[in-house]
C-alpha cells in the first residue's frame, strides 16, 4: 500500500506541545506498516490518547478517508488546540477533548493508539498540564502506561486493536503478561534503536 505522508502541523504558537520526534515517527512507520490491516478492519470509533501535535490521529483520519469518528485526548490544553488545528490543516476532522486518558468516554473504540509518557522519572514529575507530561512516566516509566492498561478491557471493543509505544526500560514482558491475563494477544509491529532509547510499537488485540 502507499506511503502515508507525514501530516502538516505548526507548533509556532504552542511552545508547550511535544514536537513530533523519533518516537512519533516510529509510530507513523508502524501505522504505515499496518495500513492494510487497519483499512480492512474498517474501525468506526478511533481514539488517540495524548495526541500532542495531533499528527498520528490525523494520519489515521487521512488513511481512512474520513470514514471513521476520530477522537483525541490530552491533559495539555495547548495540545488539544493544536490537534484540532492539525486535523483541519490536513482536511481531516478530529474531535479533540481535554481529558485524562479516556475516562470521560462511555463508548468503546475499535482502534486506540497511544504514544505515552514513557521516560523513567521521579513520580512527582508527573503533574500539571505542561510539556513535562509528554515524557514523565514515573517509576519504570510505567505510571501512566499502567493506568491506561488497566482500563483497556473497558474501552477497547472486542474486535478492536490497540497500538502502544514502549521503551525497553518499561519491562515489556511484564506488560505482555498483564495483557495476556486480560485475554490480549500481542504482536511487535516495529522497533528502533535511537541514541539512548530502544523503542517498540506493539499491537494488542483479542
Amino acid at each position: 500500500m502507499s506511503q502515508i505522508p507525514t501530516p502538516f502541523y505548526c507548533l509556532k504558537d504552542f511552545p508547550n506541545v511535544y514536537e513530533p520526534s523519533e518516537d512519533t515517527h516510529l509510530f507513523l512507520d508502524a501505522l504505515e506498516k499496518e495500513q492494510q490491516y487497519i483499512v480492512n478492519k474498517q474501525p468506526l470509533f478511533i481514539c488517540e490518547i495524548g495526541s500532542g501535535s495531533g499528527i498520528l490521529i490525523t494520519a489515521l483520519a487521512t488513511m481512512l478517508k474520513g470514514h471513521c469518528c476520530c477522537f483525541a485526548t490530552d491533559v495539555n490544553p495547548e495540545a488539544c488546540k493544536v490537534t484540532k488545528l492539525t486535523a483541519k490543516m490536513n482536511q481531516s476532522i478530529v474531535e479533540s477533548v481535554e481529558m485524562n486518558l479516556t475516562n470521560m468516554f462511555r463508548c468503546k473504540f475499535d482502534l486506540i493508539i497511544f504514544n505515552p509518557p514513557y521516560v523513567v522519572t521521579d513520580s512527582d514529575e508527573i503533574g500539571g498540564r505542561g510539556l513535562n507530561r509528554a515524557y514523565a512516566g514515573g517509576m519504570s516509566g510505567r505510571e501512566i502506561i499502567d493506568k491506561f492498561l488497566n482500563t483497556l478491557p473497558t474501552i477497547l471493543s472486542n474486535s478492536g486493536a490497540c497500538y502502544l509505544l514502549l521503551l525497553k526500560e518499561n519491562n515489556i514482558d511484564e506488560i505482555k503478561e498483564l495483557l495476556q491475563e486480560y485475554g490480549y494477544k500481542n504482536e511487535l509491529v516495529i522497533q528502533r534503536k535511537i541514541p539512548g532509547e530502544h523503542l517498540f510499537v506493539y499491537k494488542f488485540f483479542k
Binding site: 470509533f45 470514514h67 477522537f71 476532522i93 477533548v97 475516562n103 468516554f105 462511555r106 463508548c107
Partner: protein
C-alpha cells in the same frame, strides 16, 4: 464539540455520580460548518448513537430539523434523512458553552470547540 462527541461523553467517573449521562449542554456560540456527506458512513455510525440523547441535544440547540423522535427503520437508503443526521452529528458544533453533569451539577467549559473534561484528583 460536535454532537457526536456529546453523545459519547459521560461524567460517570466523578465520585458519587452513578450514570452521569447525558450531559446537559449550555451553548453561547454554536456554529454549523460544512462537512463532506458520506451517506453509508452515517448509516454505519447511527446504530452506535443514542438516538434520544442526540434528539434532545439537537433540539436544545435548535437544530433538530423536524426529524422523527424515534429512529425509523430502513433508513439506509433514505438520503434526505441521512443528510439531516449528518448535519446534526457532524456539522453542528458548540464553540463556546459548557457541559453540565446531570447529577452533581459539575460544569465542564467548552472553549474554541474543545471541551475541558479534566477532573481534579479529589473529584474521582
Amino acid at each position: 464539540m460536535k454532537l457526536l462527541t456529546h453523545n459519547v461523553l459521560t461524567s460517570k467517573c466523578i465520585r458519587g455520580v452513578t450514570v452521569g449521562y447525558p450531559l446537559l449542554i449550555k451553548a453561547t456560540n454554536v456554529k454549523v460548518s460544512e462537512v463532506e456527506f458520506k451517506p453509508d458512513f452515517v448509516a454505519k455510525v447511527l446504530p452506535k448513537i443514542e438516538w434520544d440523547v442526540l434528539a434532545n441535544a439537537a433540539e436544545s440547540l435548535g437544530h433538530w430539523q423536524n426529524l422523527p423522535k424515534e429512529l425509523p427503520n430502513n433508513y439506509e437508503n433514505d438520503t434526505d434523512f441521512l443528510k439531516k443526521i449528518h448535519r446534526v452529528l457532524l456539522e453542528v458544533e458548540v464553540i463556546q458553552g459548557e457541559l453540565i453533569c446531570p447529577e452533581s451539577g459539575r460544569k465542564f467549559p467548552i472553549t474554541n470547540g474543545i471541551a475541558n473534561m479534566l477532573l481534579n484528583e479529589d473529584e474521582v
